[in-house]
Symmetry: C2
Subunit: 239 residues, 2 copies
Amino acid sequence: MDVKRNNILKNISFFKNFSDKTIGVLNEKSQIIDLEKGGMLFSNKDKADRFYLVTKGWVKLYRETIDGVQSIVDILTTNSVFGETSLFENDAYPFSAEATETAQVISFPLPVLKKEIENNSELSMDMMRSMVRHKKQQDQEIENRTLQNASQRIGCFLLRLVDQEQESEFVIQLPYDKTLVAARLGMQPETFSRALNKLKDQININVVGREIYISNLQDLTKYACSACSSEFPCRDMKS
Amino acid sequence: MDVKRNNILKNISFFKNFSDKTIGVLNEKSQIIDLEKGGMLFSNKDKADRFYLVTKGWVKLYRETIDGVQSIVDILTTNSVFGETSLFENDAYPFSAEATETAQVISFPLPVLKKEIENNSELSMDMMRSMVRHKKQQDQEIENRTLQNASQRIGCFLLRLVDQEQESEFVIQLPYDKTLVAARLGMQPETFSRALNKLKDQININVVGREIYISNLQDLTKYACSACSSEFPCRDMKS
């Protein structure tokens, strides 16, 4: 048993309550997959027999309309797990997965996960807790797409990235390029540009490439959070 | 032990895998609550110590912005359970609950549910399956609020109510009044009226009070589902 690799998994939130035995089995049966930008991992409705951990880069989960328009389900980076809910969905993936830049993922067999969940009540409580947290984020997202305008939604996205330990000017590094931020927020690139300009008019922010400088956090909070049922800081709502 | 009351619970999907002992305890500690139209059951962030089963009428779950604008989380009727996820949310309700018409609910103690989930792996697998189904509905809702226009969203709502066993003209009974349907879809009443009129122009439907007559289901499907990543009939997506 490779103790070092097992310890790496145990330090990732998703795996922390797995039994040592299962961690060992998962590692033995794991596969490392390197993806180029645009590389597809699987497609919506493909048979699901593995789940995935991102170890490098970014992976986009999405669905497509019959007209080929994409809807982003999530954009995930290092230490995020996906595909695990297929266990409960007739063993089919409910979305497609594609690398948005060079990425690396590790895949594990779903049946091992299923057995562990059935036998480990601490783990299943953990998973339910995580699902409920995700449900709350989704309720909030549904609300935001209805009550917030496009500029407020961009403001809300930025606020979730703010490191509040900073004291004076806040600098935010966008996690991925603006086209992808727009897609994540369900906006056309043109709508995103217009809304970002409107946001700059409303409050004092400065955009330099992927960096965004916010001089007054309260102005941004007042602007974005007035059309939201949560209060800033919304700790459960991290992007 | 009241066998008849226990059997009633066992026939409701949420309770079907509960142990007989727990069903008995839940029934013993249950409380019947009658609500007038507009009657509040609890408010967002109230301490949660009970969960609820709707036995009559309709109950609206919602959140409010600081400006008092409501966002509907769900609208539930007979045999629906709510408040149970508070177990995983620091024992606070994540929304407010109010009767939209005369309603009756039964409340049960959350600690009894928690104990049962911890000790009954079949039940916890059931709950996870139900949470994952709900997550898929929410992903779809987020997508629809972005990719479908207001008329398509009304069409989509109607399609979920269609009884496909009918053969010729389809008659749909709206489950609640149009103002509430609008709120459920995240629309202002005026937007809803305009969008419903546009839908009538696009396809052949006839609206009489709460009844809606659809002469050609394919026309409606073609119109609403073209901007959606699911295919009709979307069985998992029942409203």
